[in-house]
């Protein structure tokens, strides 16, 4: 392993090693979670683990392809990739296949592809290309708007395909905007909106607004001597009223029943303990079972292929979205912590590498990669452990599925290719 990066073709081996570890560890957990009956062979393509092995081989080919292409290609062709992926998303409305309520798949004679997974790296590339363009100034509101539309377009298309989870992932690209210099107020607004939203749903819009009003009055009377900012205060208050009732309306009218239930359960909106218990049993059945499986793992876990709850198929969707519960049960606290640390290290490594870049394009793209990975990591593991409401998105490199694995492989390796070219003068 050559860590000397003066050579023109030098990968960041730390990231590659972590990537490999995640994919291999993921494969074995899929094997454990999807094995039924007597285990026969590792390459049984009728079973998910056998297929996953094929997907892994496919991603090896992808890696080889990505690395062999000239780094500049990705910057040059970012727009075309983006347009292609938007078209493929639109095409879903015509030729899409519905699985689990979401119309997110193309069916090529048994092989299904999910364009929304690929849209993620395409959008990240396009965003990097747009912001790094010399004519773009991200501090300029018009450019901010243009960049926002760039991200919102695929996100909205995916939302219409009833895949709200993936849409949320696009929201993580906010970190890219923030890093590139949009106003601090956006961050304040985002934090404010989050707090306002939770408070509205938990305590109702009226109580929330009364609380905000009191805070503002307190601020005006006791902390601010000069009354110059009176107007701002009023505007802030009107905003908060509008937003808070807007959120309440959106929760009641826009969200679907199962989404309301998930959020409601997470915020413990149901006070009646009997009803709450029955909600827990019915709505968060998956979560209950996955928590039970993780809890039963204890410190060291039950061992590979020895998880009783995994073997008994107690956790639905365990080899896809709930794969982390297998890790929890069979590898225990230590194994799960190692996995968490691997993910954290990979994301931190990517941010670190991105920050090193002089090329703005690579840095923005790297940030996009880190943000998307972070969103998946946060939402998936958070959901499986009951820390956030249930949102069905896969765990990168880990969950079963070809589209996901390939899309994440492309996402990461395009960045690693750009990174290996860091010192080259274009």
């Amino acid at each position: 392993m050559n860590l000397n990066r003066s050579n023109s073709f030098q990968l960041d081996w730390i990231a590659v090693i972590i990537f490999t570890a995640l994919v291999v560890f993921g494969y074995f957990n899929i094997l454990s979670a999807s094995n039924t009956g007597e285990f026969t062979s590792y390459i049984d393509t009728t079973k998910p683990y056998g297929k996953q092995l094929l997907f892994i081989m496919g991603s090896l080919i992808l890696i080889a392809t990505i690395l062999s292409v000239e780094a500049k290609f990705y910057e040059r062709f970012a727009s075309i990739l983006y347009i292609g992926s938007i078209l493929s998303l639109i095409g879903l409305f015509i030729a899409g296949k519905q699985i689990n309520g979401a119309t997110s798949w193309y069916d090529f004679g048994g092989i299904t592809l999910q364009p929304s997974e690929f849209a993620k790296f395409a959008t990240a590339l396009a965003l990097a290309k747009f912001i790094s363009d010399l004519q773009t100034n991200i501090k300029n509101p018009l450019d901010q708007f243009k960049a926002g539309v760039l991200v919102a377009l695929p996100a909205v298309l995916i939302l219409f395909q009833n895949d709200a989870g993936s849409t949320i992932v696009f929201g993580s690209l906010f970190f890219v905007f923030y890093r590139e210099g949009i106003s601090q107020y956006y961050l304040f607004f985002a934090v404010f909106l989050t707090i306002l939203g939770i408070s509205t749903l938990k305590f109702s819009a009226i109580i929330t607004n009364v609380a905000i009003a009191s805070l503002l009055i307190f601020y005006q009377l006791f902390l601010k001597r000069k009354k110059r900012k009176f107007k701002v205060t009023v505007i802030a208050f009107i905003c908060s009223i509008t937003l808070s009732f807007g959120i309440q309306w959106a929760y009641n009218e826009v969200l679907q029943k199962h989404q309301q239930d998930r959020i409601g359960l997470w915020l413990r909106l149901e006070k009646d303990p009997v009803k709450l218990e029955s909600m827990k049993r019915n709505i968060s059945y998956n979560l209950n079972e996955s928590e039970k499986a993780i809890r039963s793992g204890g410190v060291f876990g039950k061992g590979f292929m020895e998880g009783t709850r995994t073997k008994g198929k107690f956790v639905p969707e365990q080899h896809t979205d709930y794969i982390f519960s297998t890790v929890g049960e069979e590898w225990g606290f230590f194994g799960s912590s190692v996995l968490v640390i691997l993910f954290v290290s990979l994301i931190l490594r990517i941010i670190y590498l991105a920050e090193q870049h002089k090329s703005q394009f690579s840095r923005i793209y790297g940030y996009g990669v880190a943000s998307i990975l972070f969103a998946h990591f946060l939402i998936n593991i958070g959901m499986v452990m009951g820390l956030i409401p249930t949102i069905g998105i896969p765990l990168p490199f880990f969950s079963y599925g070809g589209s996901g694995l390939w899309a994440f492989t492309i996402l990461v390796f395009i960045f690693l290719k750009l990174d290996s070219n860091r010192l080259n003068v274009w």
């Binding site: 970190f175 923030y178 890093r179 210099g181 039963s296 008994g312």
Partner: protein, 621 residues
């Protein structure tokens, strides 16, 4: 700030996740318990329950297979219900009821459909079973009684109830556990240890293979056979003598403390509590509030001992040196005591009495005198009473015997404190509590305590704890049962008492109960007793009580007989005791007339008197 935000959020998330993992997997989770994992099914393999033999190696209790019809509702196909019901001897509504109950429990899991099929029904059914999909037969092992006697001794087994399961986690729902008699005393030895197989199951409760290839599975360990001290022939004879009477017989071998027979009357056939009719029969037995057949009268019926207690009063007085064997008394048919010249009637016939003749004729006056001297020995009645009480208790009275029988009662032997509490403002003395001298008053004993007391007298001063176990698969039994327990009375004092008891048979109250060729030492007893009829205290016909041991030299049997409401001691209890002694010592009974008299006698009328609602006479013929 802009550079740090994502860094810190990622790191923070990692920390939160590890914290959550710590909470779930270390803080909140108890150590992984295989037995509490609902992904694992435990399948038990029950070992053979140990057999029970009597002292002469005749088999009393064995096992038999019992067949339960099981059903998995989902797998049931349309069937010829008429034929099926005929085979099982049930009607259509019962069929539907059982089926629906099983279906409600779980359509996927097996449930019992009909329990305890007889061997014959099983044979017919198994031939046709292939026609009835979804039904199958599960074999279980239940008790097979080779005898119709000794239900109270042998006890019975039944499914463990919630209380049993709570008390001992070994048991699971549906497991069998000893509920009475030796089945409960030697439960752990008889039952063995069940084997367990851990089966991995899936979300639908289906078996998907053995857990870790059976690494945790265990093999069942069979229960051990036991031999009990009961002589089943003597036991059967005792039960037949006691038919139509309520009461108990306890016969002990004085030289070992082994219980030769333990009769509780009325008895029932132990086979009644096996099989399909079990619960019906049990309810019937349980609800019989007059006879209470499920209660072992020899062990738990407490009553005033009556005259046999005089033997201990005399022994205590001798030990305390307040009388001697020559002490005499002129009985005038009553004993007058206290300032108010209160009297105690005496039925001995009057005249000069020494210790020996006082025992033979059960002279109340004599023992009242002895008891009074005893209590007056020390300045403080309470101190004297404590001494007296200790002597009496050394015969195993007033406390549990510490034997291996599942039930028992302490009885009551009062001490000084007892009366101090009773009479807090009154200086009580011997005359206050004089009825204790003749075994009335506050003294309470059980028949087994009386038998043990008799054994201690027969041994001249020591006894072995009465016990029912003879051997466990040829292993040693509790060593405490082999250790003699000494009474506080010196052995030389017994001779005079034993002479007196011999005289009871020679010329005294039991002179018509002689057994040719056997020197029996006995003592009659007649205990007054009362009941409440509609809240009013009413006296009932006296309990007939008798204690005896034989032969005089090297005694082989010590016996106590209680026949409730049997009138005077020699009348029924005495006859039963004599017959039992002859049966045990000679192996056969020559007193045919006496035997016929006892067998034919029914006291049922006597027992129904308090429930008749009419006024009744007591102690009539």
């Amino acid at each position: 700030m802009r550079k740090i935000l994502l860094y810190s959020l990622v790191a923070l998330t990692g920390v939160c996740f590890i914290g959550r993992l710590f909470y779930l997997q270390i803080y909140q989770s108890t150590a992984y318990d295989l037995n509490n994992d609902n992904a694992i099914r435990k399948v038990f393999h029950y070992p053979k329950r140990g057999y029970i033999y009597d002292r002469n190696d005749s088999l009393l209790v064995a096992n038999q297979p019992s067949y339960d019809v099981m059903v998995i509702p989902r797998e049931v196909k349309p069937l010829d219900t008429t034929m099926f019901c005929n085979l099982l001897k049930i009607d259509k509504p019962t069929f539907l009821k059982s089926y629906n109950r099983a279906n409600r429990y779980s359509p996927r899991l097996p449930s019992p459909f009909l329990r305890h099929l007889s061997k014959i029904d099983y044979a017919f059914l198994s031939e046709k079973l292939r026609k009835f999909k979804g039904f199958y037969i599960q074999k279980r092992s239940v008790r097979d009684y080779q005898t119709s006697i000794g239900a109270n001794v042998l006890g019975y087994i039944a499914e463990a109830n919630t209380k049993d399961i709570k008390k001992d986690p070994y048991y699971n729902r549906g497991d069998l556990i000893g509920k009475q008699g030796v089945e409960i005393s030697y439960e752990k030895i008889l039952r063995g240890i069940k084997g367990v197989k851990y089966i991995q199951k899936d979300i639908y409760n289906r078996d998907i293979g053995s857990y870790k290839d059976g690494a945790f599975d265990t093999l069942p360990i069979p229960g051990k056979d036991i031999k009990i001290t009961i002589d089943s022939e003597l036991q059967a004879y005792g039960e037949s003598l006691m038919q139509n009477k309520i009461g108990g017989i306890v016969a002990i071998e004085p030289s070992s403390g082994e219980i030769l027979s333990l009769v509780s009357a009325p008895s029932y056939n132990p086979s009644l509590l096996v099989g399909r009719e079990r619960s019906k029969n049990y309810t019937k037995l349980y609800l019989d509030s007059i006879h209470r057949p499920l209660i072992d009268k020899g062990l738990v019926r407490m009553h005033e001992p009556g005259s046999p207690f005089k033997l201990l009063v005399a022994l205590t007085a001798l030990q305390e040196n307040v009388i001697s064997s020559n002490t005499g008394l002129h009985c005038k048919g009553k004993y007058v005591y206290g300032k108010n010249k209160r009297t105690m009637q005496c039925h001995c016939g009057g005249g000069y009495r020494n210790l020996k003749s006082a025992i033979s004729f059960s002279c109340n006056s004599y023992f009242a005198m002895a008891f009074r001297n005893n209590i007056n020995k020390y300045d403080n009645s309470s101190t004297s009473m404590d001494k007296w009480s200790d002597h009496i208790k050394s015969f195993g009275l007033g406390a549990f015997l510490g034997n291996d029988l599942s039930v028992g009662k302490k009885g009551n032997i009062p001490n000084g404190n007892y009366y101090d509490n009773w009479y807090p403002d009154f200086k009580w003395g011997a005359t206050t509590i004089i009825s204790n001298s003749i075994g009335q008053g506050e003294v309470l004993v059980t028949p087994i305590q009386l038998a043990n007391m008799t054994a201690a007298i027969a041994n001249k001063g020591f006894y072995f704890t009465p016990h029912i176990i003879k051997s466990i698969d040829d292993n040693e039994i509790n060593p405490d049962f082999k250790r003699p327990k000494k009474t506080t009375i010196d052995s030389q004092h017994y001779d005079e008492i034993i002479e007196g008891m011999l005289n009871v048979y020679k010329e005294g109250t039991a002179s018509f109960l002689k057994v040719p060729g056997v020197e029996i030492c006995g003592k009659t007893g007649t205990a007054e007793n009362f009941t409440k009829v509609d809240g009013v205290r009413k006296q009932l016909t006296d309990h007939s009580i008798f204690v005896a041991f034989a032969p005089k030299h090297n005694p082989k049997i010590a016996i106590a007989v209680l026949v409730e409401n049997g009138h005077y001691g020699a009348r029924w209890a005495g006859r039963v005791a004599s017959l039992m002694i002859e049966k045990h010592i000679k192996g056969e009974v020559s007193l045919k007339n006496m035997e016929k008299l006892v067998l034919d006698k029914s006291l049922e009328d006597e027992y129904l008197k308090p429930y008749s609602g009419k006024a009744f006479k007591i102690n009539d013929q």
